[in-house]
Symmetry: none
Subunit: 201 residues, 4 copies
């Protein structure tokens, strides 16, 4: 119940603002004001706006990767493993609503913070491809890599497009019921993809 300490408050404020508006549109002043701390403290605790941003990204990447790794590691048949990974993906994103926006904006943006995102997405890409290596070819339209893109796009875009589609969606797409419905759709998608895969060779 005690007040969070200064670095925590700065991180929280920066997370919100970067998540909502993006790196370029947010000033250190904005962050300090939202955190209720002196502007100079942002630099005292995090060195620079850039490092602060990197810290936030880092935390997301690490947590996200860990969550997916746990799901991947389970000693289960491929199909069950993929469903578990899908659930873990949905869970993580629905609990970290700013994360998909950050990623989407970075991916579509310039090269500034590309390096960590390449590492992160690359690792996830490789885990998925490896998990599918027995049942999917490595190239061609039914290869694991294409399923990866369709797969991750289907999850992440639901969350990023929700605010824009809300007026025509019919109901709140980000309510618990909305997300459950999407979850069911995504599990169907996993099965549809598995059905569409043709073993290599």
């Amino acid at each position: 119940m005690t007040e969070p300490d200064t670095p925590t408050r700065i991180l929280a404020a920066a997370d919100e603002l970067f998540g909502e508006i993006g790196y370029d549109g947010v000033s250190v002043r904005d962050i300090a004001e939202r955190a209720g701390v002196n502007k100079a403290l942002v630099f005292y605790h995090f060195g620079s706006k850039d490092e602060l941003f990197a810290r936030i990204l880092d935390r997301y990447y690490t947590e996200h990767q860990r969550a997916l790794e746990r799901a991947f590691e389970a000693d289960l048949p491929v199909r069950e493993r993929l469903h578990r990974v899908m659930d873990a993906y949905i869970d993580y994103i629905s609990e970290n609503r700013h994360y998909p926006r950050l990623v989407q904006r970075l991916v579509a943006g310039s090269g500034a913070h590309m390096a960590p995102i390449k590492d992160n997405l690359g690792a996830l890409f490789q885990s998925t491809v490896e998990a599918l290596e027995d049942i999917a070819p490595t190239a061609g339209p039914y290869s694991a890599r294409h399923f990866f893109v369709t797969f991750s796009g289907a999850v992440i875009n639901y969350f990023t497009y929700a605010p824009v589609l809300a007026p025509v969606w019919g109901g709140d797409p980000l309510s618990d019921e909305g997300i459950d419905e999407r979850r069911a759709h995504l599990h169907w998608l996993v099965d549809a993809m598995l059905g569409g895969m043709r073993p290599p060779g």
Copy 2:
């Protein structure tokens, strides 16, 4: 072969820079320099940075919508129509590489230029839902609205994630061959979705 005139050069430069970096990260100075014109001319011809940005968005929206409408209008069975729309979508985006990045960044961003994007996506959403109204329910995990999100995410994210995935992809995902391979995958996805749909009632 003659030099393009000033407004054209400004539009081209602005398209590139907004497409690569985003509204907030680009200055009017950058645009003028890339266009090789005096900074004040940007304001003389377009009034403000904001109007210049709106002009670029407008053009994309109009062209995109028109391209999809042409595909939707064809007097063909649903399945063939959807495949045509998918081709039109892929064609338009692969010929306008900055467009998906702009849209993705706007969707994931703050509310500044949200209005036109809501209109544009909303219209596309409704066309798709109507096209599917005989073969898909209006709600639930297999409803047209979910297919729309999965569908459009699978197209657009391929293009926006390509630069980031390139190092691990194996081959250039945005080469002609890469896009053809994706096209085949997406056509499979259309059929998979059609197979997964259950008629309403």
Copy 3:
């Protein structure tokens, strides 16, 4: 009934804007727009913003001086001559409402357009002092020069302060009735001053 020609329209527009807002607050673009002519024509016809302003001032000074000279010249006793000058002053200003504002702003302003105003006011000053030379001393509290300042301030400030005092004035100070009332006050003031003057020596 024919449309006035371009230089005339520019002068009219400039007169309004300089009169209402002042030199620094008005741009050549504003003037051209109000005149309904191309901006470059302002420079074609008048050379520069500064020369345009000088032209307007010149016209006012010349007309004003001429109006007062005519009144001064009359072969009448001092008292009648002063009343005639007062009427001419009031008439000129009430027919050229922008003029007192221009003068007031120039007098209170920087040294940019001071030269012509010095000439103009200086001439008026000397005419008045000469007209009074038989009945007023040249120095001291009852000298002509002090009456000149009180006199001209009482005329000009009525017009410049009117818009500001209007809400508390009770009636429109710049209506015909308002001005007539002021005229009566000013004629009383002339007589009071004449009564207060002591012949030199």
Copy 4:
């Protein structure tokens, strides 16, 4: 003897420049340079050029009003009270030479900073009218309101016209002797006005 702090130096520089040249003709750069401080500090300490200007005006209005109120409050016969007010007016303006120029320019200018000037002048107007209510009618050429305009114009215009009239004046109108002479003239004016007033009814 210690150096004044930054806000004080900015206020002093702004007072001089606004007083000499006017709001539109002065840039924040000019102010910062004259104050010998970094340009951004003007915004750090005062928010905007406009707020800085308002601060300066506010101070003048408050001080001026207070000075006149003190003079008005004295428990003296009307005539003595008016002479005291006249002295307070002259004293305040001769000690704050930029003030009459600011007021004159504002009054003759556009509507930007009109609100506070209306309040200020309106209050002064009403005090004067009330002070005279027993000896002057409320309307007509000998009403208090006309005496107010003549009265205040005779004070303020002496100071604003002085620089322009100096070359023909004979002696420096703003020297101590010059001001004393004017003071004598103004006290005569008060008496002349009192003599010219006719009790209401």
